[in-house]
């Protein structure tokens, strides 16, 4: 067993053990009055320690040791290891865990049934940590499924509310589907002799056809967990159903664990890649990016918007991964390093801002009890801090410079621009199209988050609850503030992030991006300065300087008088808040443009004749094509078969006997004709 230095698998495992212990203790303790702060506090401390360990591993180089416990499959044992990749994802997981626990200290007080949340929250954290730590197929899948199970329990925490049961059901079935797909993949990788340890798999390698099969299965398995279209259907149901800090973890972190699974299997275990593997990954990524954000734009439920937006960001990450495969298979290691850096950077970024956004949604939920955007509004006056922090996250997720979302998206674009050197025609045609999709999704994301922030926080309150809102507690604010600060830092100083990811990228692609920290003015240069460069710090400084300069100059030299008056509104002021643009009306132009293709949207307008006092009504119907084309037929087929077979339950004894009789005769016939 390795010594207990903070950068060893044993150390990380003991953190996991501590989390599990907290989970077990929270079962009897969950009903106590002040259990929530204690549990979340303990989670916070443990995650902080684990985060520290992961950062040491990431920056100081991963430990060589690995741990084998006599658990799991008896003749394999439970292997655990931290390499650079695992260290990076451990850092992401535990950063999210720290934030969520911190948030939970405040948010958890409002939980009506804490005993349904408290035991599962640490268990969920432990499961995610374990997935990343695992170094054999059995432990990996066990942790993977355990993670699904714990999060399912959290999704079902508010089991009495409306659609949550359905959400939980779709979630657990899809999770099981994904696990089975991964199980099959590992079955192929391990071979009939059952070499389930990752080291054995690496040594063993896979033949070309079975490697392709593994890739397909991993896309199904990890993709369904990550939320790639069209396997995403569970995500927008399940993520919003959980308590908000859990939603943040599920969206911000758990999907990243799925990304980790994909990278681990495809880049580490599967051996050399073929160029065409990039095609399905790129296509799935690009499709998910656009579909996700389009769906997000059409939703009215705040948390569901955020969940759909997760699909978009996952799409972006998978585009990065697909590019990496394409470059790597063709031997362009530097380009592959750039693409992988971009993907991993976005993994980190999305974990940050999606967590803030879900925390913000949770804060809004606490303050108003509302998730429907059309019943909110004007919260910027009541919740100034929350709205400021959410604004930063909105700007970051919309890829606005100088925040972090832009930095990673910029890197992806740079990687795309390197792709004409690829020799294959399929990639040549697909990658620009995917680039267009990404650009489209970025613009749509900006629209989406203008809508979110504008409807929820700006304007006038649309309901009494929104009018009575109040700022949330310090814990929640500090969790959001911490992440927002990280968003700004990562956006302004992306070079540091790129450098710390470099060891991960190096291990997987055999190349790294040029070291960024030593560059003049802390700018980032993906390939060469003559090609492209970006300096978040300078852009940030320029904007700050020119904005304050302008403000100072104007206030000093010109007027600074301010008068409040009723809104002018082009001469048609109307005191009713319902005359404001609503969430649906905001997205209507975009729905008109894209909806007829993507959603088969249909509008029905009921316009009363002049003189008729009825209100005019417009009804918009959107259809989820993924659900209609894939899931509904499957569900119908299962239901149909079950219905048909169910008749066999109500037969007479004679008919059952004849079943036996026919089975016997069939087998005897088979024997008779057997050679």
């Amino acid at each position: 067993m390795a010594p207990m230095i903070p950068a060893s698998p044993a150390f990380a495992l003991s953190c996991v053990g501590a989390l599990l212990a907290i989970a077990v203790l929270a079962i009897p303790g969950g009903r106590l009055r002040d259990a929530a702060p204690v549990v979340y506090g303990a989670c916070l401390a443990t995650s902080l320690v684990a985060l520290g360990g992961a950062l040491i591993c990431l920056l100081a180089g991963p430990p060589a040791s690995n741990v084998v416990l006599p658990l799991g499959l008896p003749w394999v044992g439970a292997h655990f290891r931290i390499d650079a990749l695992a260290a990076f994802f451990l850092a992401v997981v535990n950063l999210g865990a720290v934030a969520a626990s911190l948030y939970g200290i405040g948010y958890g007080r409002h939980e009506s049934e804490p005993q349904r949340v408290l035991p599962f929250f640490p268990a969920f954290l432990a499961g995610m940590n374990l997935v990343v730590l695992a170094d054999d197929a059995f432990s990996f899948l066990l942790a993977w499924e355990f993670m699904s199970l714990a999060s399912w329990a959290l999704v079902m925490a508010h089991h009495r509310e409306g659609d949550n049961a359905r959400a939980g059901y779709v979630y657990i079935v899809m999770a099981s589907f994904g696990t089975l797909a991964l199980l099959l993949a590992f079955g192929l990788l391990a071979g009939p002799e059952g070499g389930y340890a990752f080291a054995a798999i690496r040594a063993h390698g896979a033949s070309a056809p079975s490697a392709a099969l593994v890739l397909g299965l991993v896309l199904l398995g990890a993709g369904s967990k990550a939320g790639l279209a069209p396997l995403h259907v569970w995500l927008p149901l399940a993520h919003p159903a959980a308590p908000s800090h859990v939603s943040a973890l599920m969206s911000g972190v758990m999907t990243k664990v799925a990304v980790y699974g994909f990278i681990r299997i495809v880049f580490d275990l599967l051996g050399p890649q073929a160029w065409w593997w990039g095609l399905p990954v790129l296509a799935a990524g690009g499709g998910s990016a656009v579909l996700g954000v389009l769906y997000a734009l059409m939703q009215n439920d705040l948390k569901r918007v955020l969940a759909y937006s997760t699909i978009e960001n996952i799409g972006l990450i998978f585009v990065g991964l697909g590019l990496t495969i394409a470059f790597e298979a063709n031997g362009f290691h530097a380009a592959a390093a750039l693409a992988l850096t971009a993907a991993l950077f976005h993994v980190f970024n999305h974990a940050l801002f999606k967590s803030i956004l879900f925390f913000g949604a949770g804060a809004v939920l606490t303050a108003t009890g509302e998730r429907q955007m059309d019943r909110l509004g004007g919260l910027i006056h009541k919740m100034p801090l929350t709205s400021f922090l959410v604004l930063i996250a909105c700007a970051a997720i919309s890829a606005l410079p100088p925040l972090n979302g832009f930095a990673s998206e910029w890197l992806v674009f740079q990687a795309i621009l390197l792709s004409p050197q690829l020799p294959q025609w399929g990639l040549k045609l697909l990658i620009p199209a995917v680039g267009a999709l990404l650009a489209l999704s970025a613009a749509l994301a900006a629209a989406c988050f203008v809508r979110v922030f504008g409807i929820v926080f700006l304007g006038r309150p649309r309901s009494q609850q929104a009018r009575d809102a109040h700022e949330v507690d310090r814990w929640s604010i500090s969790a959001m503030a911490m992440l927002a600060a990280l968003c700004v830092i990562a956006g302004v100083l992306p070079g540091f992030m790129i450098d710390s990811i470099a060891s991960v990228v190096d291990a997987l692609t055999g190349a790294r991006m040029p070291a960024q920290a030593s560059l003049q003015w802390l700018s980032i240069v993906p390939v060469a300065e003559s090609r492209s460069s970006y300096n978040g710090l300078l852009v940030f400084a320029f904007i700050a300087a020119s904005a304050s300069l302008a403000a100072y100059a104007i206030h000093r030299l010109a007027s600074q008088a301010v008068r409040r008056a009723p809104a002018w509104d082009c001469g048609f002021p109307d005191p009713s808040p319902s005359t404001q643009y609503s969430a649906e009306s905001f997205s209507q132009p975009i729905q008109r443009v894209f909806g007829s293709y993507v959603f088969k949207a249909s509008e029905r307008i009921d316009m009363p004749a002049p003189g008729d006092m009825r209100p005019a009504r417009i009804k918009v119907e959107l259809r989820d094509l993924a659900w209609e084309l894939i899931y509904a037929p499957i569900a119908q087929a299962v239901s149909f078969t079950a219905e048909r077979l169910n008749r066999l339950q109500f037969l007479t004894i004679r008919v059952y006997l004849s079943l036996v009789f026919f089975a016997l005769v069939t087998l005897l016939l088979a024997l008779a004709v057997w050679p």
Binding site: A436, A447, S548, T579
Partner: protein
């Protein structure tokens, strides 16, 4: 070093100074084309000054964000404009952001403007924001596609490098470039709320987009936003000029005389652009809002086509 810094600062001030003039010039040309006298060339400056001196009237519901946004918009646009080489290539801070970042900076400005439109909680502000974002969802990818085309040709997303490449004989006559130019002009028209997408001179509620977001602004805030809008127009003209007609630009290391030539050439290009824009605007009619998507979709397709052609022709 000091000279570089001076050039950079000169560029920043120049664009700031020229922007209202360009707006005034276009108005004047348009008026002349319509056989009207038109406002004097310097009218935009006077408007700005008058607005600056007035008190700002805020809607009762307006938040702090509403007051901050004008400066943010102005700063983002100004920084973007100063990053586009106008009269001189290879500016000192050019490398701090490339073309993609310039586009994204303009995106930031739009993002905040749209938020401002929704802040007061009025119906028209929402209309403006909603339509503006719809337009952006098509214009932005089209722009990115154009960027791709240029970057693939020049092997860089740095504007200076692109401009340098365009000057070099390696360019030749390319279909992709033509497509990109057309697309870029279309995008520029849309982005700057010009006819046929939007009419900057109207306050007719059902047709306006950009103006609808500004309805609640007054006084110095309005002035800053108007200035930013002028800057944006100038920026797009500079961009087109820098990429497609880079001749006359002062090259790095060029002396003061080269810089003077560059300034002169730049102003000439702007004037030509202004006349062309005015001609175009007087010749076409504004289209319905929902036709805009077709217009911009065409731009997007052109951009994508240009990129694809390049991707394919690279290997030939």
């Amino acid at each position: 070093m000091i000279f570089d810094l001076a050039i950079q600062n000169a560029q920043m001030l120049l664009v700031l100074a020229l922007a209202p003039l360009l707006t005034g010039f276009i108005r004047k040309v348009k008026a002349r084309l319509l056989r009207r006298q038109g406002p004097p060339l310097l009218q935009p400056y006077r408007d700005l000054l008058r607005l600056l001196r007035k008190e700002a009237v805020l809607a009762e519901n307006a938040s702090w964000l509403f007051r901050v946004i004008p400066y943010l918009i102005f700063a983002a646009t100004w920084v973007a404009a100063s990053l586009v080489p106008t009269f001189a290539a290879g500016l000192m801070f050019n490398w701090s952001a490339d073309l993609i970042a310039v586009i994204a900076l303009l995106g930031s400005a739009r993002f905040f403007l749209a938020l401002a439109g929704m802040d007061a909680g009025t119906s028209f502000g929402g209309i403006g924001s909603s339509r503006e974002m719809m337009i952006a969802t098509l214009a932005e990818p089209a722009t990115i596609m154009i960027v791709f085309t240029l970057a693939l040709l020049a092997g860089s997303t740095q504007l200076s490098v692109v401009a340098g490449f365009m000057l070099s004989p390696a360019v030749g006559l390319r279909v992709s470039l033509g497509l990109a130019l057309v697309a870029l002009v279309m995008v520029a028209i849309a982005e700057n709320a010009r006819i046929p997408i939007d009419n900057p001179a109207t306050h007719l509620e059902l047709t306006m987009v950009h103006e609808a977001m500004l309805l609640e602004y007054s006084g110095r805030h309005l002035a800053v936003i108007e200035l930013a809008a002028s800057l944006k127009l100038l920026l797009y003209m500079s961009l087109i000029a820098c990429v497609f007609i880079p001749w006359g630009q002062a090259q790095p290391g060029g002396g003061a005389s080269a810089q003077m030539i560059g300034v002169a050439a730049y102003i000439a290009k702007l004037a030509a652009g202004g006349v062309l824009l005015a001609l175009f605007e007087t010749a076409v009619a504004k289209m319905r809002v929902f036709r805009v998507s077709d217009f911009l979709g065409a731009a997007l397709m052109l951009g994508l086509l240009g990129t694809l052609l390049l991707f394919v022709s690279r290997s030939l």
